[in-house]
């Protein structure tokens, strides 16, 4: 790598050495000198508009703006002096002259940069006696409100929307003191509704419809957790407030920016938490009565009933007559526990979930290679990127953001192959269009294999350019599965410094696969047939024959061969278009937030907590493992984790064998484990070896996380960092899949969500609904563009 030139300068008497080209404001920040700034925003274009960042640079006649001045050798800079303070105070006074001084009721009060600076520089608006301009606050979209008098025209919103989002929905109109931020629809916004403009607004001019005036920032609790929607797994900070039904989320934002998503959140991560407070949210267990109706009952009765019926089916028809369908949105601990429950307690491998990417094939193809799986973070710095299939703008908004940012700020080269004219094409250095079913042929062509792909000039150049890249990250959509995926990964492994990522659809789709919510794989992709190790650990025999996949289970149900179906956080009836009659002779238990199509057919419906109401970990589609923290509460509901443990308990399984909690937990299992009796409690040994305390509650998901870390080598990541909020990449090098069947049915069914949908869950989000409706009626949509 080329030597980076450095420059020495003096700031407030401190010697600083920084790379040449650094802006003074950033150089100062690196040594802890914070220069006030309204219009400067790292990564966005420079403005020099607010004049707050002025500093004195020796030998320059005027004060200089630190946000536009690059460092220079020998520069001598003063950042605080009477003259500078006066200049900044003058600016603030001008702003305050027109700005409403009602901070106590402003939505940004307590989080306002103008308020902070006014305090610091002792400015007041009292030099001006004219009445302030007051204009009505405007609603620009279901989520964006604009209060013009508060706007200080820093243009951050305009830039983040244009440069950051590539949406360009905000502009500046008129001039002089009539200048105003304007939305592209005249009086409304037609945009991706990501809310980045709101997040970036330093004052309370742009605010969110979702939480406006509901509460004051300092009255909220803030919890940083992971968005429950797509497979990117953004960190979102949820602001909650106590209410009579628990604690309610009133806003989502991204102010801490410590997450994998940097500055980004899409509409779903920012606003679509509203499903939690819906009127029709289930808060009582329902059991189908003799009259055929689902009626509310107590938890005790409902769980007892489920336990009893499942036990009956297991006893009379065996585990093979029971099916389990897991979720894309439950935690790793829940997924792990669910498969453990299925295999150990229900004695079945009939466990599956709605699969949205062929992760087993990916891990098999990687063959234990280290550092070949791309993290979401790799897309913010890789010098070259290849996106095959998918439409990241709609389906992986955070990935799309990273790609755009990387292209914009690092001039990364983006290569694109798609059957549709997707939006990222605007950032692409090279793009080729292929038929919808041409991905297999394309990858064989790229890999230099025999292929029916007929390359034209563009394609030839595309391939040559790719092969010449010294470093590349590849993201591919669900178009690639099975053999095509294998070809793709095998090719990628031949390229220098190449990493790959499979794009699956939901927050923990990857986790569901990693945790063995599959009929043929145990956690960590141990083939079901080789489950001996787990049987040993679980202290119970496990079925070794691969189970039925989701489709086979439904077929079996249709044939009357499925005695019971346990559905956790999933809506297969809607997703797979299952006829109600199919499940008529199956005892169906559903854990969900709402009476979904599947829940309507159930015999027992258990009201479940959502991802924002629980703790644990999730793994995004790239394999980045992150911590989920409980933000809110809804009274009456239970986590899936707790429900699984309690059902297992009712089925006669000991809670301690499900969840390794308490001390000396294996001690009393000695006799039942025959040959191993007297053997040391391996879990306790592991805990001790790692300096961890045993968990004390059977409902503590971190007890299960202990077990995952102990039994799934690829999840042996630093929990210190994980628990302090960092994302840790799953260790693909510790996954070895021997004899991956070439003809394995991948069963991938892409969700095809858009920016404004999110499977069944999305249908229960008012904000997503409103946005969809506003777009349907918006005339600007049809106008020429």
């Amino acid at each position: 790598m080329a030597e980076v030139k450095t420059v020495n300068l003096t700031v407030d008497g401190k010697q600083i050495t920084t790379p040449a080209g650094t802006l003074l404001i950033d150089a100062c920040k690196s040594v802890g000198i914070e220069i006030p700034a309204f219009c400067y925003y790292p990564g966005l274009s420079l403005q020099g508009a607010c004049r707050m960042c002025v500093v004195r640079v020796e030998k320059m006649p005027k004060l200089q703006t630190a946000c536009t001045t690059p460092v220079a050798e020998g520069m001598i800079v003063t950042t605080e002096s009477e003259e500078i303070a006066q200049s900044r105070k003058g600016i603030l006074e001008l702003l305050l002259g027109n700005h409403p001084l009602d901070c106590p009721v402003c939505d940004a009060g307590g989080q306002c940069e103008l308020q902070d600076m006014t305090f610091k520089y002792g400015a007041s608006g009292s030099n001006y006696v004219e009445t302030k301009n007051h204009k009505e606050e405007q609603q620009w979209s279901p989520v964006v409100f604009f209060d013009r008098p508060r706007c200080i025209l820093c243009y951050r919103c305009v830039r983040v929307c244009g440069e950051g989002m590539d949406v360009w929905a905000l502009g500046v109109q008129n001039r002089g003191s009539s200048s105003v931020i304007a939305p592209n629809g005249g009086d409304h916004l037609d945009c991706e509704e990501c809310g980045a403009c709101i997040d970036i607004c330093p004052v309370g001019a742009l605010t969110s419809g979702a939480y406006r005036y509901k509460t004051r920032p300092w009255e909220m609790n803030h919890t940083a957790t992971i968005c429950t929607h797509c497979g990117d797994g953004c960190k979102t900070t949820l602001g909650t407030r106590q209410d009579n039904a628990g604690s309610e989320i009133v806003r989502g934002d991204n102010r801490d920016k410590s997450g994998i998503n940097g500055d980004f959140l899409c509409i779903k991560g920012r606003y679509s938490f509203d499903f939690a407070n819906r009127e029709d949210r289930l808060t009582q267990p329902l059991v189908r009565q003799a009259n055929g109706k689902l009626e509310p009952t107590t938890w005790e009765v409902a769980i007892e009933h489920v336990g009893k019926r499942l036990r009956e089916v297991r006893q009379t028809r065996g585990g093979k007559a029971i099916g389990v369908i897991g979720s894309n949105r439950t935690t790793n601990e829940e997924n792990y526990l669910l498969q453990k429950f299925a295999r150990m307690v229900l004695q079945t491998n009939n466990i599956d979930h709605h699969r949205t990417a062929d992760y087993p094939a990916l891990l098999a193809a990687l063959g234990g290679a280290a550092n070949k799986a791309a993290s979401l973070r790799d897309f913010e710095k890789a010098p070259a990127m290849l996106v095959l299939g998918n439409d990241p703008t709609e389906q992986h908004p955070a990935l799309a953001w990273n790609i755009r940012t990387n292209v914009r700020t690092n001039r990364s080269r983006l290569y694109l192959a798609n059957h549709a004219d997707i939006k990222l094409r605007r950032q692409a250095k090279a793009a080729i269009e292929i038929p919808a079913h041409g991905y297999g042929a394309l990858i064989r062509y790229l890999a230099g294999q025999e292929s029916e792909f007929v390359p034209n000039d563009t394609a030839t150049k595309f391939r040559e350019a790719l092969l010449a890249e010294p470093e590349l990250v590849i993201a591919f959509g669900s178009e690639f599965r099975g053999r095509d995926l294998e070809t793709l990964v095998a090719w990628a492994l031949t390229l220098p410094n190449c990493k790959v990522a499979a794009l699956g659809d939901y927050v923990n789709s990857r986790g569901a696969a990693d945790m063995g919510v599959l009929p043929d794989f145990l956690p960590g992709y141990a083939p079901a047939a080789e489950g001996a190790g787990f049987a040993d650990e679980y202290g119970a025999p496990l079925p070794t024959e691969p189970g039925m996949n989701l489709v086979q289970m439904m077929d079996a149900a249709g044939r009357g061969e499925l005695g019971a179906l346990y559905v956790v956080g999933s809506n297969p009836v809607s997703r797979y278009g299952v006829e109600p009659a199919v499940l008529a002779n199956t005892f169906v238990v559903v854990q969900d937030m709402f009476l979904t199509e599947t829940a309507l057919l159930a015999d027992v419906v258990l009201p479940a907590a959502n991802l924002y109401e629980k703790s644990g970990t999730v793994t995004n589609t790239y394999g980045d493992i992150q911590l989920v923290k409980k933000a809110s509460d809804t009274s009456g509901v239970r986590t899936d984790f707790e429900m699984i443990v309690r059902i297992a308990d009712k089925m006669g399984a000991r809670a301690q064998s499900m969840v390794p909690f308490g001390k000396g937990l294996r001690a009393d299992l000695g006799q039942s484990r025959g040959a191993q009796s007297g053997e040391a409690d391996r879990h306790a040994v592991w805990l001790a070896a790692n300096n961890y305390e045993p968990k004390l509650s059977p409902f503590d998901p971190f007890a299960t996380f202990d077990e995952i870390q102990r039994l799934v080598p690829s999840y042996a990541i630093s929990r210190f960092e994980l628990f302090s909020g960092a994302d840790k990449a799953m260790r693909t090098d510790l996954v070895q899949i021997a004899n991956f069947p070439a003809d394995r049915a991948d069963l991938v069914l892409p969700a095809n969500d858009t920016l404004f949908t999110s499977g069944t869950l999305g249908r229960y989000s008012k904000v997503l609904h409103e946005v969809m409706e506003s777009r349907e009626t918006s005339p600007a949509e049809t106008a020429a563009d």
Binding site: K62, S87, G90, G97, L153, R175, G176, S177
Partner: protein
């Protein structure tokens, strides 16, 4: 518009005025395009040296030495270079580019060609303020004629491989667009918001290419610099202020008009002799010497030579050489209000101190002028203006602050009169500016 004349005039750029030189044949007959042809043989270095020797300084207002500006353009040809002629003329009190465009338009084209030859540009743009539509039409015809004669286009003057294109461009009403970087933005089809500098236009300008930006009068002077020779041209003016300028004398004088006078000519003589003295024999109160942004001179401060340096010494500026003469009847407060009203209207709004500062100045001066002022307003006017000085993104902020500071310091008594029990009656400026009245009515 009409021509005026005075014996003290030294007709260098105006020598063809009124002789039909907008016709290309007449222009050629009067020696037109000879200098462009000569410049080809001279080569870049010699042209720039000649311009440097002439002490020609920018006529747009800032007075930057033209030869020096051209020499900043990097040699070599990796990016297209451009000549951009600034015909946005919008500074109140200034109407001196107009006669050039009307009476000697080819001299602008010829100057553009010479500038192009000097820096290696192959394209010139002549940006005209939108209001000058009739001049744009004249210019377009002249450009077409010059193409027809082979002075523009491919192989100009019949020289194989020597190309130069030139076109006109219309603005649409914005003073700030006269600022050179905002001018480039405007020509690129954007809002007239200035650019961050550095990089300077000579290095990264229009479409990212090195760009020379000169005022119409500067460019039109260039052929004359070559015609007379740099040294001769310099001799007409004063030290470091070469040649002549078109002075527009307006306001309360008997014979307002645009006069070509040598640099350094006495301001007093310009008013009392050239322009025929104060209208109606009234007494002089004050003079704004170089367009509305230049600080006012009191009646006893006009014994000064009009060049960049002498006026700077007198605490004001030569600016665009638009001399506005105020007789004893003028209310300075009204004049100051009309001035700040202009800057408030024309601020592009990009930066806070100018956008908000001009707005508060206008509001505060309005209130004082209405007789609703309070005593701290006068200090506050000065405070506001001083807080703008040197702190705005582009010089428009200074252009608004400087004259205001001048008015309030030199004529504070007139402002104070409006705070008294019996304030003077305000003039029409208030009644005719409903926006001002509304504001104050709150």
């Amino acid at each position: 518009m009409y021509l005026v004349s005075h014996p003290d005039e030294v007709k260098v750029i105006s020598f063809r005025f009124g002789q039909g030189a907008e016709q290309i044949d007449k222009y050629i007959e009067l020696g037109g395009y000879e200098q462009a042809r000569r410049a080809i043989d001279m080569g870049p270095e010699a042209i720039i040296n000649e311009v440097k020797a002439s002490n020609l300084r920018g006529r747009g207002g800032a007075g930057f030495p033209t030869g020096l500006k051209w020499s900043f353009v990097p040699k070599g040809m990796d990016r297209p270079k451009y000549i951009l002629v600034n015909g946005d003329e919008s500074e109140p009190g200034t109407c001196k580019d107009r006669p050039i465009c009307e009476y000697d338009p080819h001299s602008i084209i010829e100057g553009t060609i010479i500038a192009g030859l000097a820096v290696g540009a192959k394209q010139g743009f002549i940006y005209m303020r939108g209001e000058y539509r009739y001049l744009l039409d004249i210019m377009d015809k002249c450009i077409a004629d010059a193409y027809a004669k082979g002075f523009l286009g491919k192989n100009i003057f019949g020289i194989e491989g020597l190309d130069f294109d030139c076109m006109s461009h219309s603005g649409a009403g914005a003073y700030e667009v006269g600022e050179e970087s905002a001018l480039m933005e405007s020509l690129e089809g954007k809002r007239g918001v200035p650019r961050i500098r550095p990089p300077f236009p000579a290095v990264v300008g229009l479409y990212g290419g090195p760009t020379v930006i000169n005022n119409v009068e500067t460019i039109a002077s260039v052929p004359h610099v070559l015609r007379l020779g740099g040294a001769e041209y310099a001799k007409i003016g004063t030290d470091r202020n070469g040649g002549t300028r078109l002075f527009g004398i307006s306001g309360h004088v008997e014979k307002p008009g645009v006069y070509e006078l040598p640099m350094g000519y006495s301001l007093r003589k310009a008013i009392y002799e050239v322009a025929g003295g104060i209208k109606g024999g009234k007494k002089l109160k004050a003079v704004v010497p170089g367009g509305s942004s230049t600080p006012v001179l009191k009646a006893d401060e006009i014994d000064v030579g009009m060049d960049f340096d002498q006026l700077a010494k007198a605490g004001t500026m030569l600016g665009s050489a638009g001399i506005v003469v105020l007789d004893e009847t003028v209310s300075i407060v009204e004049f100051a209000l009309r001035t700040i009203k202009f800057y408030q209207h024309e601020s592009c709004g990009w930066c806070i101190p100018c956008r908000e500062g001009t707005d508060w100045l206008k509001k505060t001066i309005t209130r004082v002028y209405q007789g609703n002022g309070v005593s701290k307003d006068l200090d506050n006017i000065k405070y506001l203006a001083e807080n703008m000085m040197g702190r705005t993104f582009c010089p428009l902020g200074d252009a608004a602050a400087m004259p205001t500071i001048g008015f309030i310091t030199k004529f504070r008594d007139e402002f104070e009169a409006f705070l008294s029990e019996n304030p003077p009656t305000p003039g029409l400026v208030l009644q005719q500016a409903p926006n001002l009245v509304q504001l104050a009515a709150h």
